[in-house]
Symmetry: D2
Subunit: 464 residues, 4 copies
Amino acid sequence: MIYANFQGLDPNQELTEISVRRCCFYPERIGADFITVRGFEIAQAASPWAPPTADQPGMLGTHWSKGWIIEDNILHDAKCSAVSIGKEYSTGDNDCTRYRRKPGYQYQMEAVFKAVHRGWDKETIGGHIIRCNRIYDCGQNGIVGHLGCVFSQISNNEIYNIGVKHEFFGYEIAGIKLHAAIDVQIEKNYIHDCTLGTWLDWEAQGTRVSQNVYADNDRDLMIEVTHGPHIVDNNIFASDYCFDNIAQGGAYINNLIYGTMRREPILDRTTPYHMVHSTVPLGTAFVYGGDDRWYQNIFTGGQPIYTEQSVAGTAGYNGHPASEEEYCFLLKSEGNGDHEAFDHVKQPVFIQRNCYMKGAEAYEKETDALNGGDPNIYLEKDGNGLYLCISLPKEFFIQKGKVITTRDLGMPRIVEQRYETPDGAEIVFDCDICGERRKGAVLPGPVSILKAGKNRIRVWDQFR
Amino acid sequence: MIYANFQGLDPNQELTEISVRRCCFYPERIGADFITVRGFEIAQAASPWAPPTADQPGMLGTHWSKGWIIEDNILHDAKCSAVSIGKEYSTGDNDCTRYRRKPGYQYQMEAVFKAVHRGWDKETIGGHIIRCNRIYDCGQNGIVGHLGCVFSQISNNEIYNIGVKHEFFGYEIAGIKLHAAIDVQIEKNYIHDCTLGTWLDWEAQGTRVSQNVYADNDRDLMIEVTHGPHIVDNNIFASDYCFDNIAQGGAYINNLIYGTMRREPILDRTTPYHMVHSTVPLGTAFVYGGDDRWYQNIFTGGQPIYTEQSVAGTAGYNGHPASEEEYCFLLKSEGNGDHEAFDHVKQPVFIQRNCYMKGAEAYEKETDALNGGDPNIYLEKDGNGLYLCISLPKEFFIQKGKVITTRDLGMPRIVEQRYETPDGAEIVFDCDICGERRKGAVLPGPVSILKAGKNRIRVWDQFR
Amino acid sequence: MIYANFQGLDPNQELTEISVRRCCFYPERIGADFITVRGFEIAQAASPWAPPTADQPGMLGTHWSKGWIIEDNILHDAKCSAVSIGKEYSTGDNDCTRYRRKPGYQYQMEAVFKAVHRGWDKETIGGHIIRCNRIYDCGQNGIVGHLGCVFSQISNNEIYNIGVKHEFFGYEIAGIKLHAAIDVQIEKNYIHDCTLGTWLDWEAQGTRVSQNVYADNDRDLMIEVTHGPHIVDNNIFASDYCFDNIAQGGAYINNLIYGTMRREPILDRTTPYHMVHSTVPLGTAFVYGGDDRWYQNIFTGGQPIYTEQSVAGTAGYNGHPASEEEYCFLLKSEGNGDHEAFDHVKQPVFIQRNCYMKGAEAYEKETDALNGGDPNIYLEKDGNGLYLCISLPKEFFIQKGKVITTRDLGMPRIVEQRYETPDGAEIVFDCDICGERRKGAVLPGPVSILKAGKNRIRVWDQFR
Amino acid sequence: MIYANFQGLDPNQELTEISVRRCCFYPERIGADFITVRGFEIAQAASPWAPPTADQPGMLGTHWSKGWIIEDNILHDAKCSAVSIGKEYSTGDNDCTRYRRKPGYQYQMEAVFKAVHRGWDKETIGGHIIRCNRIYDCGQNGIVGHLGCVFSQISNNEIYNIGVKHEFFGYEIAGIKLHAAIDVQIEKNYIHDCTLGTWLDWEAQGTRVSQNVYADNDRDLMIEVTHGPHIVDNNIFASDYCFDNIAQGGAYINNLIYGTMRREPILDRTTPYHMVHSTVPLGTAFVYGGDDRWYQNIFTGGQPIYTEQSVAGTAGYNGHPASEEEYCFLLKSEGNGDHEAFDHVKQPVFIQRNCYMKGAEAYEKETDALNGGDPNIYLEKDGNGLYLCISLPKEFFIQKGKVITTRDLGMPRIVEQRYETPDGAEIVFDCDICGERRKGAVLPGPVSILKAGKNRIRVWDQFR
């Protein structure tokens, strides 16, 4: 017998659906490579909860394979996850719940190493393309995936209404929730009205979040227990709560950060890092916090504050050294000992040429920060286009920014890998959110062509 | 020009030796397998410092190879290490000192993973036999080895006067200092007059220390940042400072513990653990402390205390639960959350049928502990034999112990591997330090045949 | 609708069974380790065809796992295989039949390498124990297994009536059919009334067939496309067609060979060989034939000849050099060039102290062969015992054999691995088929205690 | 004492040099990554013989490392090899010569697998760039490398006078000699006056030879025991003996083939193939011959014939089927059996729109071949430029070729990998040897812009 809560509606009058399909399109067997799913509407599956320590089926999913293309689909009403590019069961399947021997965290660590032992690599896993889909009304995720997501590209999707019915409580809920998103590229998506827009957890090494628009989310972005190099550039984060930065080693370039950022070190869990552009493990490390690069972003203040650590701007980095030289000097002054010195001394940060408006505050050692009043930022939908409205004073145009490149960014302290493309090429951050090339002096923020006064800029297009 | 300090002696009158040989017998190339070194006296080499994060040459050494036999040699006066079964340079060579980018700890972690990537496994590395050697008068180690030592056997050696000139300061000094001593068996050695007798650091998984005599060392044994299963059975630890237990998941059976034990958790470093009897990594973890088994040991009190945490007996485990059921109950009462509960609740310990003499104190939940007065323990050399003298009251013989086997010991919490032989066979702990088989009721301590009153037992023989 | 052929019987009068169960006990998921199946009767499953290039389910099976114990069961009437310790689908599943792109042979080669890539190793796969089972009346195999069988032990089983209904045509049919039986030990089984008793195909490296009785099979043993070291010792092969030796690098010691042997080189397929006691691949090679050791076997002649190459005795090795020195000399005389010389010169064989009766013929360079008349060999069942009856002349006892050990056998030319136990220990071939230790002068054949005249020896016991 | 042959010259009058330097710039240790060698003249080293089964030092070399750039150097007078990007000793060092146990071929096979075991992969080895160097007057190679060469780029070099003193006899001599040149790109080089221009031996998987000029070599190109996909496009081969095609699975597009081609199957050696764009091994296979694609090349006849199998044009493929359908039909008609059918039936070839001049002959099933008279081809040096002179009749321009792309080429039969770039992107063969983009109808040969009558085209430039 099934009991159902119809919340005052008469089920005899209304349309009632009982969803019993676990998946709509999901291979029974692993290793079904190079499948293209194009042009479908796929909906109403009772896909089960898909955490990183279990088998992760989705309404639609790749089941531990390589090279799928999922494009031009409309995907909605999955009980948990619409699209899964995650792991299968043999590296662990809810073992903490079953055995209570070790924390889920420890089983997740083992899942990574078991996956390595079972051939998790670029040769056989991941490299999927998920583009131009509309994904909405799901209980857990628009796109989910631990391990199986590596080397994938997620672009030009619209993802919304994920987790907002609050059917489930806890971790793992977001528009896009990836673990071990090694070299994953998340570009030109419009992610809105989610409890959390995008959550990159563990091993976001080589990951890039670029040219996306986030809006009307409870939180826009969370990056957790990873050591870099990850790149967040040319995005618009338009929600009040912009960013949970529980990571280190990031590069944040030419973004518009409307809301607040929270930072926290993690010294009671270590997570893996890997050889350059590879799944081969090289070590595990804590998140000490810092080691971040912030160049030419726009921050605005005045939004509601949801946590004690929430800050508008980069003032939360106060207390960190501003260069590697300063960091090394501080390390040396700790005297003998080994890791203890590295535990005590805060990691350096590299923060320059950002613009702080409406009360957002700059890092104490940023010498070339720009300040301004209220830019009155909002987004406007008009037909298939999404428009950024922003009002800028003349002073905004004084600052002489530059086109940032891989060479300007160095390497994270722990993971000795450059901020570069998945195939090791240099990145020149000259392409703005509209696809325009930056020339000459570079303005802060994701839009390169702006004028004093009010601007209305098409920043996303449903059919591009 | 060389400046030398002759400490008041006249170098023109005395014998002066300038040692410039880096090694006496050490292959230039890696992979020189299955070499036997038998019956030599090898001495006076200026072997350099051999830490786990560098190339580790010794006066005599295996240089990243497999299957050596080093037996019946007299090895002495190595500047640093007499015998090296350690690592080579390509997985790291003093990178912390060179680059100061990361702590030595982090580079050591990377060395393990780089070694895995370069084929560190049972098929090609380790499995050496070092037996019946006399090793003495060295600055750093009698035997040293990181990674290269796996699956080796070290037995019937006499090792002494290691580190006692205090030429060097710091870590890595001991009669035997091994890192990643996976499945290494250390048996029937006599290790005395060292600053530290044996130091097992990182990944002492499957390691066994059995039937050895430790005496007159500043410290006898240190086991550090490893998660078990390691076995310490049927040994005599006769120094005042017996044991630095900076580990978890150990089984300590039928030992004589004359001196004190210090315990400490390590929550600011994680170290790897591996698949069963393998170098394949499975995760990294903290040392929470506890998860130890102590059965049928003899402890004596009354020795000087060198650290705040030093304790004679097992009373230092007070506060730990005494069973897995109690542990699980405590975990559940922590409520929701993941690793946090495991961080808060102390790991269980399994402590039974030990004998506490001369003031050594039992773990609070040990129900069948035996207590006694001063057994007046000392060791006596006589010809080639070493004799244990111990005086026992009648009450000592009341206790009915049993022959412990692999089945009695379960598995460590984190590393799900049994306390068994390197080839996976069950161990029956029925062989005492003299080579006698235990029958019927089992006495505490390493000697199975004892009488009330004074006993004088031959526990080591130079030429066995 | 189902059409059935009842062969003149009335299905309404007789018992009719339609078997539709694919498996009786077979985990759905891979990696279900350490399961014991003890004391069952398991029968009537429609287990599908289980070739080495496909998923290999059996009526009972381990499905790509580790450490099962299958003992004391009665297993019968499987459509194809009663017990499977074979591979799963992800390394290939009938790809030749599906795609016709490459031969099955090539896909099988790829299956081995894909398995290596996916973690096929001692740490996670094989090591099963199958003992004391009765297995009969199956269409394809009593026990089957590619890759998943490594490091297993198959002992004290009775296997019979396998393939004798001739429901299927083609390869892969035998009492025991294993591919890649690395370090598998097949001991003390009684295998009779099969189309083929035991078939070891590809990579029988470190495999040992010892103390078994084969009788009343169309063929007793086939070893195919493997390079040694494999050991066949102390067996009774009592069928007319004893042995298809399509291999090289074998050691055959103290067997009784009643029937004929066929030998053939394979120069149009290469198969892998591996690191010592490991699944790590080291190369692929042809079967040139030869490189065999034959010591102290008894051969009898007079049986029907089924192929042109069938020979009673070792005379089929005529033309091969009798020592490594002779082989090297012949190689050198081929002049310059590389592999061509190795292709032309036959590999050496090592044949000594065998006994040839009833017309069986010795290798031309065997200097110490013993010859004799008809020993009138037969087997007799009596209660639970199986008895070998053999009549021997006085001359049989003249020959002074020796206890062969690992040291007498050298290493195969291609695979540089000794004829030793799976854990690398030396083998002393002093235990005869009855479990008696050989002492002093050693007689040819598997029974160590014999007298002139008629002997009746208990060689197998159903309940041992 | 040194004896020297001065060939009639007086060493007291002439300049005499005794070269004793093994190397000029070669790291002692492996793993010295990311070194740039730019702008040097390096000469006169007594670099030893560098075969694929030994340590392979060169006058200048990378010694088992990653990511070097060697550019704008003048490198000459190395006794053996000028530049080595080859292997180190630990995977084998002249073991055939030392031990005579197995052929060099077998040791080379083992070297590949040992290298895999020791971490030979894209993460740590190869990926070198060697460009714009002038390399000449060496005894064995301009550039040599087994295993260490993977994923490298060799472009815009001039290499000449290699091996022409005939100091050494035997294999391994060529301007460029690579083994296991996985994904290596050889582009825009001018290789002349060598005994052999370029020799790609074993595992030339994903290798591309494009836009090079070969002239005045004893032989221009040899590709040996490899299974594709390799690409040879837009080159000029101007020597009399163009190509030893001892391979299968090649794609030959828009080349000018002045001389003859020899083809031979290899059925007595198998060589490895690998996962796509990876060093992970997937199997070993014979070279059956065929499975080649020849599109839009120009062949000319009339050159001297050096071997029985030498043919001008593609008529040597007569007897091969012309499509996969025909091949499959022939396979089926072989009946039951496995690899035997694949051994008997010749592999298909795909040959279209080539131009055969001056007596070169077309494959019998090529339906759209173009024929013509003598184009009077020669090369002319003029300043820094190299010019191709070719005279074409009007009929040459009738043929309507097309721009070939990855999609037109399918996959080799054995290695299921597309003819694509190292990072998996499609190739559009629209760029001619001069760097011009092809548009509209495509002419045969490497030059896209030609006219009827005599043409003089700049095809190489020393300072580009």
